[in-house]
């Protein structure tokens, strides 16, 4: 949990007339904000589109996040900066935050948007909490489910609330953090990468040797190799030389094969409801295909997937 340090019992700034600036204080509201995670704060700040700097402290560590026009522009945390710093802070599970009156960093803003940062952070946290052997599991991590609005989520999507009406953050004093109304976290657009990841993928050499596998790729080895051979034969019957690709629907699964110029065949199995374009993107962007060819085929006689690239996430 992260909280702003403002005492909720302290007098609220300009309670009688929020718009008054007679006292020199900025307009707006004051109060306590309690966020279940720093990700909530990031969403609130980015959705409000304000320009502000926030100091985050946790267990003796501290860092700064700089928000401007719906983006995290800069982040600093110890020796880390930008994305690394932001991810470091987002990994903290408890602490305090407050608005900081800092000079704006003089460097080019971060390229990653806040949604990517939150998802990367959530994924890192879940992977760190998971046993190493399950790190490549395609199931979306729990914290990711919280952050993104998964397409197949059983819960109905929450309606978008109107964005805050708070005007630009005042160039406030160090302790006068304007109050942010607490409202449900607005779901972020679903990312296809988590839920739609292939269930299994395997890269086969021209003679069926396994060059790499991911997920449950082992069970695709024989099927992929034989289907590829049949596709070649079918292509010949149809007047061609060899197949270059094949895709089919098999019950609740979708099987895709792509054969490259070197005769390697990448077989990927996804869920049926994965959009075909997404599935094809998995084929074309698969890290398996970009790997250099293995020096020697994997010995499959022991029925395991040992060797170069096998079983690695």
């Amino acid at each position: 949990m992260l909280s702003s340090p403002v005492n909720p019992r302290a007098p609220v700034a300009d309670e009688a007339d929020p718009n008054s600036t007679d006292s020199g204080r900025p307009s707006g509201f004051g109060g306590q904000v309690w966020c279940s995670s720093l990700a909530d704060l990031v969403q609130l700040e980015c959705l409000s589109g304000t320009r502000t700097a926030v100091r985050v402290a946790s267990r003796g560590n501290e860092g700064y996040l700089f928000f401007d026009r719906g983006r995290i522009c800069h982040a600093v945390c110890g020796d880390l900066s930008q994305e690394d710093a932001a991810l470091e802070m987002l990994a903290w599970d408890t602490g305090n935050f407050e608005q900081a009156n800092l000079d704006w960093p003089n460097r080019s803003p971060m390229t990653a948007n806040w949604q990517e940062l939150l998802m990367n952070s959530a994924q890192r946290r879940d992977e760190a909490a998971r046993p190493p052997s399950k790190a490549s599991d395609a199931t979306p991590p729990e914290s990711l489910k919280r952050v993104v609005n998964l397409k197949n989520s059983s819960a109905p999507p929450k309606p978008m609330r109107p964005t805050r009406t708070r005007s630009d953050a005042p160039a406030a004093g160090p302790s006068a953090r304007p109050v942010v109304p607490v409202f449900p976290v607005v779901p972020v657009l679903a990312s296809p990468t988590a839920r739609q990841a292939p269930k299994a993928s395997v890269l086969l050499g021209p003679n069926g040797e396994v060059l790499g596998a991911k997920g449950e790729g082992e069970r695709l080895v024989a099927l992929g190799a034989y289907v590829r051979r049949l596709c070649d034969l079918l292509a010949r019957e149809l007047g061609g030389e060899a197949a270059s690709g094949f895709e089919c629907l098999l019950g609740d699964r979708r099987l895709l094969l792509e054969i490259d110029d070197q005769g390697r065949c990448l077989a990927i199995e996804t869920q049926r409801d994965v959009e075909i374009e997404v599935a094809r993107r998995w084929l074309s962007e698969s890290p398996l295909l970009s790997k250099p060819q293995a020096e020697a085929p994997v010995d499959r006689s022991d029925n395991t997937l040992r060797g170069r690239g096998l079983g690695r996430g």
Partner: protein, 157 residues
């Protein structure tokens, strides 16, 4: 759906005066002649070069393929297609449809009642239109099957 139904739809007795040249069937039944009625519909779609209908066992029920696909070649193609279907259907999932890509062409396979429809196309084909045309063809097949399977009412003597 029973295999014979699809077969009955596409094959006619050689005694039928409208029948074309008799073709030896590959699954051992009496010689019958092909009726390719619904298949030319698919050629209406841009990029479609031809099509055929086969049984899951590889018997050719109907064909509307380019002239270079003679009887022998078509039979071999059907056997390969059946082999692929058998492989995929045996992997625990119901095979519904597939697309093979090879040198500038595609071969689409769609599962119909009691058989498979294969469609040869160019690389650039109007896929949504092809999907719809396949639905229409499949519907025609289903309608014809229902007609064939309906009990006949004998006229009183």
């Amino acid at each position: 759906m029973a295999k014979w139904r699809l077969r009955e739809l596409f094959w006619r007795s050689p005694d039928d005066p409208t029948a074309e040249t008799a073709v030896e069937p590959t699954d051992g039944d009496e010689p019958v002649a092909p009726s390719n009625e619904p298949l030319p519909l698919l050629r209406d779609v841009q990029g479609v070069l031809g099509s055929l209908v086969i049984s899951p066992g590889g018997a050719v029920y109907a064909r509307d393929l380019p002239p270079n696909f003679d009887e022998h070649k078509t039979a071999r193609l059907a056997q390969r297609l059946a082999q692929l279907y058998e492989t995929l259907a045996g992997e625990g999932g119901h095979f519904e449809a597939g697309t093979l890509q090879y040198q500038g062409h595609q071969f689409h396979v769609s599962c119909a009642d009691g058989g498979l429809i294969g469609v040869l196309t160019e690389q650039r084909v109007n896929l949504p239109a092809l999907a719809m045309a396949l639905k229409v063809v499949a519907r025609r097949i289903a309608t014809a099957q229902m007609t064939l399977s309906a009990p006949r009412i004998e006229e009183p003597a």
